[in-house]
């Protein structure tokens, strides 16, 4: 099989070693001379591969295949078109810029290979199908990889570290390089995923569980269908988190037990007094960990004047509080998260993203921050989402943040809103109205 290779770089040289009847066209004199020394003069032609005369000289008309693999996409396109015009049966072009692939196809080049796209597919495949030998681990806050040296990862996962993507830079895999939260570590294990690497990947996925337990406050039977069902739905999608049902009833309501069985979620029952149920201020005194999600019915907030007494505000004043106001908008298919540029909102978006990853919903991030330009932390989170197959969309404020938020909440078709209780750049009274009067479930953090 006669093959013409245009471009004598590393790929060209590597391919040549795999072939018998071939010729390489190289434009650069020194490189052509080196190739000639290494592969033999008969296999190398000095000249511009896009020129029909040079292609003729290389015997392209008689060739079975032509590979256009220079670093220049435009050159590869020209070479491929010239080869097609000469009637070469199989023409393959390399495309370095993924956005140029479509152009090549439109120009009539059928076989286009994009190294960046291929590598990304391999990484994706390794992550989700365990069949390839390349994996990407996104390091989140509290991850077991955070603060670990690359040298240690090598022994930990019995694998090679290809590199680290930090913000927009690709760092060399120096054994002493310390992994930070937000980094993406590219790992490679020869001969498939090692058990250690699989274990590492599984533990990192566990690290993407946003909460450690759900505390569902159910004050009467009507709330079983809202608070109860939504808590169980979340638990089922977050690795069957334990659900602690707080209710004034002495026995767990039968309907709640039925639902728990349907969802296959472990549930336990804690009895609260009627006074506690009325005020809900007892929640402040519970020793809740940072991972506890308190699920409540929003109806209680307005009817019992929680806002007036500021109980919710007080509760959300706690560093650890994460509150879900349930309106049974399940399953979640669209989540709206609001970024006001603070560290708190980054944590919130991370929570929302983790919920989106596990529930299979899309995540739209409304950026209402005053900062100009991209925020690296936000960009990292979006990349994590995209790597985990979550559709992450940016929404930018066109004129007024409060108005844009209200318009999205009232008419955007979202199921869950994730927002900070102390969100900046939004009118506070309107924010309270959004939380108490909107029709979607709301995930609130401080």
């Amino acid at each position: 099989m006669r093959t013409v290779i245009v471009g004598g770089g590393r790929i060209g040289k590597f391919l040549a070693r795999e072939l018998e009847d071939y010729v390489i066209i190289e434009r650069e004199k020194t490189r052509a001379e080196n190739l000639a020394r290494e592969l033999g003069k008969e296999h190398v032609i000095l000249g511009d591969g896009a020129s029909p005369e040079v292609l003729e000289r290389a015997g392209a008309r008689q060739a079975d295949a032509l590979l256009a693999i220079t670093n220049q996409d435009q050159t590869n396109l020209k070479v491929a078109l010239a080869a097609k015009a000469m009637g070469v049966p199989k023409v393959i072009a390399r495309c370095n810029d993924p956005s140029f692939i479509e152009v090549m196809h439109l120009e009539g080049v059928d076989n286009v290979i994009c190294p960046a796209q291929t590598a990304s597919r391999m990484i994706h495949s390794a992550l989700f199908h365990d069949v390839e030998d390349v994996a990407s681990v996104h390091v989140t806050k509290g991850s077991m990889l955070e603060g670990v040296r690359l040298g240690e990862i090598r022994s930990l996962a019995a694998t090679r570290v290809l590199g680290v993507i930090r913000k927009r830079d690709i760092l060399k895999p120096d054994p002493d390089l310390v992994v930070m939260s937000g980094d993406e570590v590219l790992l490679c294990s020869i001969g498939g995923m090692t058990p250690e690497l699989k274990q590492l990947m599984a533990r990192e996925t566990d690290g993407l569980i946003p909460f450690s337990e759900i505390l569902a406050v159910i004050l009467d039977k009507s709330q079983i269908e809202t608070v109860g069902d939504e808590s169980l739905y979340l638990s089922a999608h977050l690795g069957r988190l334990p659900v602690d049902v707080h209710s004034p009833a002495e026995d767990m309501p039968a309907r709640m037990n039925d639902l728990a069985q349907i969802w296959g979620v472990p549930v336990q029952h804690s009895i609260i007094t009627s006074a506690q149920a009325m005020g809900l201020d007892y929640l402040q005194h519970l020793k809740m960990g940072k991972g506890t999600l308190v699920a409540l019915a929003p109806g209680e907030i307005t009817e019992q004047g929680l806002f007036k007494k500021c109980e919710l505000g007080r509760m959300l004043g706690l560093e650890t509080a994460r509150v879900l106001l349930c309106r049974r908008k399940i399953p979640y298919s669209r989540i709206l998260a609001v970024c006001d540029g603070t560290d708190g909102s980054m944590d919130l978006i991370e929570l929302a993203l983790k919920v989106a990853i596990h529930t299979g919903s899309s995540l739209h991030v409304l950026d209402i921050s005053e900062s100009e330009g991209a925020m690296p932390d936000l960009e990292n989170l979006k990349r994590l989402g995209r790597n985990r197959n979550v559709e992450v969309k940016d929404l930018h404020v066109e004129g007024n943040p409060t108005l844009d938020l209200v318009a999205l909440v009232t008419g955007g078709g979202y199921d869950l809103l994730a927002i900070r209780w102390t969100c900046q750049n939004v009118r506070r009274d309107i924010l309270r109205k959004v939380v108490s009067d909107s029709k979607l479930s709301v995930l609130l953090v401080r």
Partner: protein
């Protein structure tokens, strides 16, 4: 002088001033006044030598400067960040109110002392009000420039400036209306004034309530007001209408102070309603600071009474400077107690002197004959000196590394 020639002079000065002052530490508005003073001085000297007035503000410039003044007060109201006031919390707000009360008391006491000792014929309370003002625009720009807007001291400075701005303008309006009512000696005029003040209050409340309702019910409609590409510029038109609702109400009793307060409230209600309406804000700032406001400031310089410099009243400048500085620095040290005297002094210095409000109050004072033209000239010079010097002193004294982040 032809109307359009005076307009040409003013607009050319408005154009070149930012170019000349952009690299200096002097705020551009101060530059505008200085440019106006330069032209005014030239005209004054030519008049002294030849007896001919070569440069005069014509009727057109005077009218545009008047609208510029109203617009400036509107923009001052628009610049109030109610979100910052709310986020600062009650403690910060009370500290700011305490600082203002002590400042007002101290200034009043010191001016009364000077008045009784030297014998200047000035209204001590009105002068105390003028010296208690703060320039919110200068404070906000310096705080942003120093990147301390999210620190505890930075937020305290901003809240103190906002509170001083709002409270002094309300007291100035109330005080001057009271003077008007007393001067008129007419019961019905007093009744009318009360009625108009109530109507302004009710209008403010209604606009806020209806606006809030519309924000919740019809956000898509209101979004049009903030769009960059709205060909009808609905936001700008609506804002202008709101300004003149308040200003027209105040003209019923012919009160300039109430017109100033009205314009300020118009800005405040828009800011309160929409808080971060960046695009509309930019458009309104464009209309104001791009055309009308520079005309007002340059005209102040051109129409400055240079005879005042040669009067004994010029002694007022250093005296009032010291009184204002002491009255701001001491309360800052008393209430803020940041642990660093230098830091508290820096804060006091930055809060000293409100460029716009000082000039506005001087203008109102002249129209009510509480202060003379000469005193007005002194106050303008003092405002210029404050705005040029105090930010530099603040930057020199303030130590950024001591800051702690606000929650």
């Amino acid at each position: 002088m032809d109307e359009y020639v005076s307009l040409l002079i003013v607009t050319v000065l408005a154009f070149i001033t930012p170019l000349l002052f952009s690299k200096s530490r002097v705020p551009v508005v101060v530059g505008e006044i200085l440019m106006g003073l330069g032209v005014g001085l030239l005209s004054f000297l030519v008049f002294k030598i030849t007896g001919v007035r070569v440069i005069e503000s014509g009727v057109t410039v005077e009218v545009l400067a008047g609208i510029g003044f109203i617009f400036l007060m509107f923009l001052s109201g628009l610049e109030i960040d109610f979100g910052k006031l709310e986020r600062g919390g009650l403690r910060t707000l009370l500290k700011a109110l305490g600082m203002l009360a002590v400042t007002l008391g101290l200034t009043y006491g010191l001016i009364s002392l000077v008045d009784s000792t030297i014998g200047f014929d000035i209204d001590p309370f009105y002068m105390a009000l003028i010296l208690s003002t703060t320039s919110v625009a200068v404070v906000l720009s310096i705080v942003r420039e120093m990147r301390i807007s999210r620190t505890v001291p930075g937020q305290q400075i901003m809240v103190a400036a906002l509170v001083a701005d709002i409270v002094t303008i309300i007291i100035i309006a109330a005080y001057t209306i009271n003077i008007q009512v007393t001067q008129s000696q007419n019961f019905f005029f007093g009744l009318e004034a009360v009625l108009i003040v109530v109507m302004i209050g009710v209008s403010f409340y209604l606009i806020f309530k209806l606006g809030s309702l519309a924000m919740w019910r019809y956000p898509e409609v209101l979004q049009k007001f903030f769009k960059l590409d709205d060909p009808h510029e609905l936001g700008v038109r609506g804002s202008l209408a709101i300004i003149f609702v308040f200003v027209a109400l105040s003209t019923v009793i012919n009160s300039e102070a109430l017109a100033v307060l009205g314009a300020f409230l118009a800005g405040a209600v828009i800011s309160l309603l929409f808080q971060e309406g960046a695009m509309l804000g930019k458009k309104l700032f464009g209309v104001g600071y791009g055309f009308l406001v520079p005309i007002f400031f340059i005209n102040i310089g051109i129409s400055f009474d240079f005879e005042a410099i040669f009067s004994p009243m010029v002694l007022l400048i250093p005296i009032l400077f010291v009184i204002a500085a002491v009255s701001k620095v001491l309360p800052a040290m008393l209430f803020l107690r940041s642990g660093s005297i230098k830091q508290d002094m820096a804060t006091g210095a930055l809060l000293t002197g409100g460029l716009t409000l000082m000039i506005a109050a001087a203008q109102i004072g002249v129209s009510l004959e509480i202060i003379s033209n000469t005193e007005r000239g002194m106050i303008i010079l003092l405002a210029v000196i404050f705005s040029a010097i105090m930010p530099v002193i603040f930057k020199h004294l303030y130590r950024k590394e001591d800051d702690q982040c606000a929650p």
